[in-house]
């Protein structure tokens, strides 16, 4: 069993302890050990990149939770902001070379833009799109995801080679300013962990704030929320923009870690990103603060487990079957545990197998 898998399983267990509402002491111990474990992990692991990737996807998952979980608007095109973030970092953060024209200010400015530009685009798109409800909103966002990818695929240079995006070939990241070259894997690990933790922290704060309660009210009943004095238009746009900012940051990290971005389906505009971020929330618990955190780790642990099993004699077939298993897990999850693992560990009467059958009966016709 790989060290990463052990770390992930440990983190899942400890975060479950940390979510036990009724036992404050247990919570503190669980939380403390969790922090220790995640700080120690990169020194134990021989493949930190897997954990870094887990945090990156987790950040986007936390972002989706703000619009999809808190506000109840099932956005299915978050990859648009993921890709925008990656391009924003490239354009503002990368030094120009003869091959590619970028602004090359600095990496920190690049990251700032990777949050700001997606947020701004989300606000502009959200103004009309957030007036749609249900399936129509979901499909419109799906369409936005594809449209933005196609725009990047077609646009090469803007304003007489001021900025070039490379069209269908995209941009490469290798030429980073010298001062930033030390952004090595250890630093990447801790910075992504920090952003991940901060985004969970933001949603924790949000869940207790007036703004957060406004979002909950919109999710539960938009008409009732409006007559209570909530400006639903701006609240929804705020939530969508915040989600986009987090997703943009995550996408920027993915671009930086990958070393290059291209507007293809197998790269920074992989349409499955839109779905992974939702699966993460679903695994943990949609609309809860800890849900996307635990969900991201469970998701990564599943991946890691299947990957490590491949090397075990007799389990080589798992490589081929990985996605089949993934699909089966999604199906079983929505059938039996649509409220995520937090429903199990927070159930008042403790764990019971009946939770599964009750969930299914509740939604069955």
């Amino acid at each position: 069993m790989s060290i990463n898998l052990l770390v992930m399983l440990g983190a899942i267990g400890l975060s479950i302890l940390a979510t036990q509402r009724d036992k404050p002491q247990l919570r503190m111990v669980g939380f403390g050990l969790l922090v220790l474990l995640l700080v120690a992990a990169p020194f134990l692991s021989n493949n930190k990149a897997v954990l870094t990737d887990m945090y990156i996807l987790g950040i986007a998952g936390v972002g989706w939770n703000v619009i999809g979980g808190f506000t109840g608007y099932a956005a299915f095109g978050q990859v648009a902001f993921w890709g925008l973030g990656a391009y924003a970092l490239a354009v503002f953060g990368l030094e120009a070379t003869p091959a590619q024209a970028t602004l090359g200010w600095s990496i920190p400015v690049g990251f700032l833009m990777a949050a700001l530009i997606p947020a701004l685009v989300a606000a502009l798109i959200g103004l009309p799109v957030l007036r749609l409800k249900g399936h129509y909103f979901a499909i419109a966002t799906l369409g936005v995801g594809i449209a933005i990818r196609e725009i990047f695929r077609n646009v090469d240079c803007i304003g007489d080679r001021l900025v070039c995006l490379g069209g269908a070939t995209g941009l490469a990241f290798p030429v980073v300013k010298k001062a930033d070259r030390d952004l090595n894997s250890m630093l990447q690990y801790f910075l992504t962990l920090l952003v991940f933790a901060a985004s969970v922290g933001i949603t924790f704060y949000l869940s207790r704030s007036k703004f957060g309660y406004g979002l909950f009210a919109i999710r539960e009943n938009e008409d009732a929320a409006a007559v209570m004095g909530i400006n639903t238009t701006w609240f929804k746009i705020g939530a969508f923009s915040l989600a986009a900012a987090m997703t943009g940051l995550a996408g920027a990290w993915r671009g930086l870690v990958n070393g290059q971005i291209e507007p293809g389906e197998s790269s920074i505009f992989d349409p499955n990103i839109s779905l992974y971020v939702i699966i993460i929330c679903l695994l943990g618990g949609v609309g809860t603060v800890w849900g996307p955190f635990i969900g991201a780790i469970i998701y990564a642990a599943l991946q890691e487990f299947l990957t490590s099993m491949q090397n075990v004699a007799g389990f080589g077939w798992l490589l081929e079957w990985k996605n089949v298993i993934f699909g089966a897990i999604v199906v079983l999850l929505v059938l039996f545990l649509p409220k995520g693992i937090l429903q199990l560990v927070r159930n008042k009467g403790g764990f019971s197998w009946r939770i599964f059958t009750r969930n299914m009966r509740e939604n069955s016709i």
Partner: protein, 253 residues
Amino acid sequence: MDDNVIMLDVQGATKQYGGVTAVSDISFVVRPGEILGLIGPNGAGKTTLVNMISGTAVPTYGTVSFKGQLLNGQKPHVIGKMGIARTFQVVKPFQNLSVLENVAVGAMYGKGGSKRSSAQAFKRAEEVLQMVHLAPRRNDPSESLSIAGRKRLELAKALAMDPELLLLDEVMAGLRGAEVDEAMDLIRSIHAGGITIMIIEHVMKVIVGVCQRVVVLDYGKKIAEGTPTEVTSNQAVIEAYLGKKFAKSQAKE
């Protein structure tokens, strides 16, 4: 009560959906400090009228103004912040929030909301729950409440907004005898706290019991206005409620 001061002024309000006229040329006023009743049989246009006041529907013709400010075309949230709170006939609790959280949302965003922090809003919500006798259920999920409980929650959510004018859309519907009396007491105590109330009902007993003045609607038109005694003896009202035949037989006796 000053008869010359007007809080809510409805002038010629008309609402058409496609070719159907739901409410036709209705005018009345609500004065500060009073309890006005709005009654009428099912389908008389009562809820449409409430929707026009609270901003969820825009009048096709006519005007609605509150303390001199025109409400036509204002967004519901602006009207909520101006000091008009309403309940919904079909109750709309925030299902996945607790009873206390439901009420706290009202305290965060109503007229008094902007000056309250989240913690202060929760404190205010506690007070309101005491008032409507839901305090023991504060941490229960709102969907676990009975019909009567949900109606009181609906009222609490509106009250927490610190409104000047409270529109109660059939808060008695579905309640049993003793529950109706409790609810009437509650409405009287809210009124005693200085809130102007417009109460929409089709149960005559409630109107007679608590209202000072009554407006009667039938088929989208205003057919009578006056004190409860005046209105209940009005020929047109009796016809609307009990049918023409019954009214005629009454008149002969």
